[in-house]
């Protein structure tokens, strides 16, 4: 039998064994020199007594040292486990050790990272394998990775690789790892799982592999107290210089106690702090108002003070601040034709350069659209263009999917062509409804606009519109609707961007809408609403990803990781924006795209927020596969054999108690033998 310790760090307490000696030495009575006439009587009477006293001191010191040692050993929680020698008489085994290497395993509990604990126990299993056994080690991350390509008898090599392995920053995928393990064992063998069994990762695992023995070893019995920033957003997502914006982040408290945390923002010129109060296992938002003074790319982070799992305490942000919002108004009507919708739209958007300093409006006819304009525009306004090339439709569709905004004004003969099926519109146009008296519109979502309400529209009448029937599932997209149920104004998410369909007449003969001051206000409110969307970059470690960077010229584009090491990037497309395909990011942080040594863009990789929820699953609730035997190994049970290891800490606790009692008894006994001046002898 071998000794092992549950809390080996506590063995450091053995260093305190010398403490009683030190205390004795430091506090010992400094003898005072006294010239004493009856010296010979003292010597005669007390020579033997001195030896006894010295012996008593030694005995007490020994007891105290042993007491400290017993306490240190007790807190180290020792237990006896069987040696490999015993295991060698067993038949050879086929074993796959599945180590959870996800981010949550970096959490530190009682001074020991969970991964280190799992690693040590897995190493014990390897060492205890009988000769001739075959084994493999799988690290569970976003993609399971086997340390050796197949089961191997080279246990020492496997052991070395295991010991050198490191946890990842990735989100775990236990189902994929179990599948790989089952595939490697091919129906014969045992899977050992060393994991924190995070509920967020393990709940999707419906069933353990069948036909195999599964030994589940939770490396922790309870949730590791953790606070994390699980999301960070910038609203609007692409602000322009001088425009007020808001950076908000969500803080999650994965502990059973309420907490107050300080959130710190470090982004470009901004360094701010704020405090949030977090309920137990609850979330709270922290927000920082910022106004970027200049255009450009910025990268930064919001963060919390380090805790048991520090890796999720920082959330990185990359912001591209534009000079102005570039709107492309595509219309074939003459700009000076006051009967055309384009006339009213352009004036509503930019009455004068001073009135809308953040907007840069570009007018193009349908046939004049060039790729350059389309690739850089932030918002596309389509106001009844006569023609729209297939390439333009394709670019606009792609750009909207990438985050651009589209406003289609559906008034005119080409209206149906302005609804791009690839963007999953909420409705399709049917026949035109004309009403001389005009139809009112009703607001489906009250107070959607910040400065308008339904009352402002109640007096408006619209003489024509396209009849349509949005399905009930898209009812939420409709802002205004006609009495016949047709949608008058919808706003829908489309990829990472958004799309607005305006089914309203935009010429003077269609009603008094465009002549009403409510028209420019509505347009600007729509723009604001469209830019509210602030989908966070969801690139997480372990996943392949793409990155768009504004580039110019022929300079070589390189990407560096947070450690300033080059990342092998593959150029997918180039032009005014270069699209790069990147291998799975290993670490979270800020990745820089450089061209000619100048940073042209930043991209960020953040840890998966699911890893921040450290609450474990009830392992017993995992459903065993068909013909599989599942054993949950808890406490100090020996994972290698599944046998109950013998706990030794109670013996050390008893020893400590006995030593303490002995010390107190002897002290009382020997103290009573001491006599103070004037006291009667005992």
């Amino acid at each position: 039998m071998n000794w092992a310790f549950t809390n080996p760090l506590m063995l450091a307490g053995l260093a305190a064994v010398g403490l009683p000696l030190l205390i004795h030495w430091l506090t010992r009575a400094r003898p005072r020199r006294i010239a004493f006439p009856p010296f010979k009587f003292l010597v005669e009477a007390c020579a033997g007594q001195q030896a006894v006293n010295r012996l008593r001191t030694i005995v007490l010191l020994i007891i105290r040292c042993l007491l400290v040692a017993a306490l240190a050993l007790m807190f180290a929680r020792p237990f006896l486990k069987s040696t490999g020698a015993a295991a060698n008489v067993q038949p050879a085994r086929r074993v796959v050790l599945l180590l959870d290497a996800s981010l949550s395993m970096r959490a530190v509990q009682q001074g020991v990272p969970l991964y280190a604990r799992a690693q040590a126990e897995a190493a014990d299993v390897l060492r205890a394998l009988p000769s001739g056994s075959e084994a493999a080690v799988i690290l569970e991350g976003a993609t399971p990775r086997s340390l050796l390509p197949a089961l191997s008898e080279n246990i020492p090599a496997l052991h070395d690789l295991l010991v050198k392995s490191q946890p990842t920053f990735e989100n775990g995928d236990p189902a994929a790892a179990l599948t790989l393990a089952a595939k490697m064992l091919n129906g014969n063998g045992t899977i050992y799982v060393f994991s924190d069994f995070q509920k967020s990762n393990w709940e999707p695992v419906r069933e353990l592999p069948g036909g195999l023995a599964c030994r589940l070893r939770p490396v922790t019995a309870e949730a590791v107290d953790n606070v994390a920033i699980t999301a960070a957003r910038l609203v609007p997502a692409a602000p322009v210089a001088g425009e007020p914006a808001e950076i908000s982040c969500t803080v999650f408290n994965c502990s059973s106690k309420p907490r107050v945390e300080t959130v710190r923002l470090e982004l470009g010129e901004f360094t701010r702090e704020t405090r949030v109060t977090l309920p137990p296992f609850g979330m709270a938002d922290a927000a920082f108002g910022v106004t970027f003074s200049r255009a450009g790319s910025f990268a930064g982070k919001v963060m919390l003070a380090p805790d048991n799992l520090s890796e999720d305490n920082t959330r990185y942000l990359a912001v591209n601040v534009g000079k102005a919002l570039e709107i492309v108004l595509v219309s074939d009507a003459d700009e000076s034709d006051w009967k055309s919708s384009a006339y009213y739209i352009s004036r509503a958007l930019v009455p004068s350069p001073q009135a809308a300093p953040g907007i840069y409006l570009v007018r193009r006819r349908g046939q004049d659209l060039d790729r350059g304009i389309l690739e850089t525009a932030d918002v596309f306004c389509l106001a009844a263009p006569a023609t729209l090339s297939g390439e333009a439709v394709e670019i606009i569709t792609r750009r909207v999917n990438e985050g651009a905004r589209l406003i289609s004004f559906l008034d005119g003969p080409t209206a149906a062509a302005l609804i791009f099926p690839a963007l999953n519109p909420p409705f399709q146009l049917q026949n035109t409804v004309v009403s001389q008296a005009g139809n009112p519109v009703t607001m489906s979502m009250s107070k959607f606009f910040g400065e308008l309400d339904a009352g402002d529209f109640s007096a408006l009448r619209f003489r024509r519109h396209f009849q349509n029937h949005p399905p009930a599932s898209r009812a939420g997209d409709t802002l205004f609707s006609f009495p016949d149920g047709s949608a008058a104004l919808t706003i829908s998410p489309a990829g990472r961007g958004a799309m607005v369909l305006v089914n309203l007449p935009l010429t003077p003969d269609g009603g008094d809408f465009i002549g009403n001051p409510i028209f420019p206000a509505t347009l600007h409110e729509l723009l604001r609403a469209l830019r509210q969307d602030s989908a966070e970059s969801t690139v997480t470690p372990g996943a392949t990803w793409t990155l768009d960077a504004p580039t110019a010229g022929e300079g070589v584009v390189t990407v560096t990781d947070p450690d300033e090491k080059n990342v092998a990037a593959q150029i997918l497309s180039s032009g005014r924006t270069t699209r790069l395909a990147l291998p799975p990011a290993k670490t979270p942080g800020i990745y820089s795209v450089k061209q000619a040594d100048a940073v042209v863009a930043y991209a960020v990789v953040n840890v998966d927020p699911r890893e921040s929820d450290t609450r474990p699953l009830a392992v017993e609730s995992l459903k065993p596969g068909e013909k599989s035997a599942v054993t949950v190994l808890r406490g100090e049970e020996e994972v290698a054999t599944g046998e109950k290891a013998r706990d030794l800490w109670p013996r050390f606790a008893a020893a400590a108690a006995i030593l303490l009692a002995a010390e107190m008894l002897l002290l009382a006994l020997w103290r009573s033998a001491k006599t103070k001046p004037g006291e009667a002898a005992p």
């Binding site: 009575a29 400094r30 006294i34 010239a35 004493f36 009856p38 009477a45 007390c46």
Partner: protein, 301 residues
Amino acid sequence: MATLQHPYLNLAAMEALRGVRLSPRGAAEGTFAGPHKSHFRGTAVEFADYREYSPGDDIRLVDWKVFARTDRHYLRLYDAERNLLTYLVVDKSGSMEFSGAVARTPPKLEYAARLAAALGYLVLREGDELGLSLVDAKLHQHLAAAASWSQMSRVLDSLGNARAEGKTDLGACLEQVFAQTKRRGVLAVMSDFLDADARFWKSVDLFRSSRFDVMLFHIVHPEEIDLPAVAAARFVETEGGGHFNAEPDAVRAVYRRRFDAFLSEIKANCQARGCDWYLAKTSDDPYGFLRNCFLARENGR
């Protein structure tokens, strides 16, 4: 005498000793007539015996009534009241320097000197003769017995100049003192008697065999009885180079038994020889102590 002021003897001490009288247990044998009974026959009032006249005798002592009845000449003999000879022996060895480690008192030598001064005062006040010897390993200073007040000054000077130093050999010193005594009287020894060996007791026997009234004043410091109240101490020999580390609380009981045995041994030896033994603690008032001693002595008579 009324103006005598000395650290060892002052008016307060004299006041404390009013009414105290040193009375010898045996007959006095002084040079001059005094208040104490003597074996010398003289012209005092108390009849002692008759003896036949021999030529040269004082015819005034002839008892004429007896001559008338018997026709023979007999002389009337009377017990003369003689003055007392008192020899003070003060131990000034190194051990008498001890004044305590925690509970400080005057050094033992100073206490012995106060006792000796007070005793001397009592002796001279009665018109008796007083002698003084300061001893350690040898006899240092010996003042022959005299009955004058100037002797008191000499005694005080000697005591005042005494320094506690050197080893002790009380037995040898007493032998020397004995050799210098001319007549029997009272011997008062002030010492801690830590070297009270066989030779010492033999010298005491010398005095006793000469019918000296021997009084031993055993001077001890309270910490010698009960050990100093310190947590740990390095006890050093006062008359040697030895040292010994001890925790007094731990060894107090054992030591106390040993010291009690020592005191009992001294006391038993004194009783066996008919000597008076007085245990004087330096924490006590020496004059009050002396008064109590002599009152007890009077009562025990």
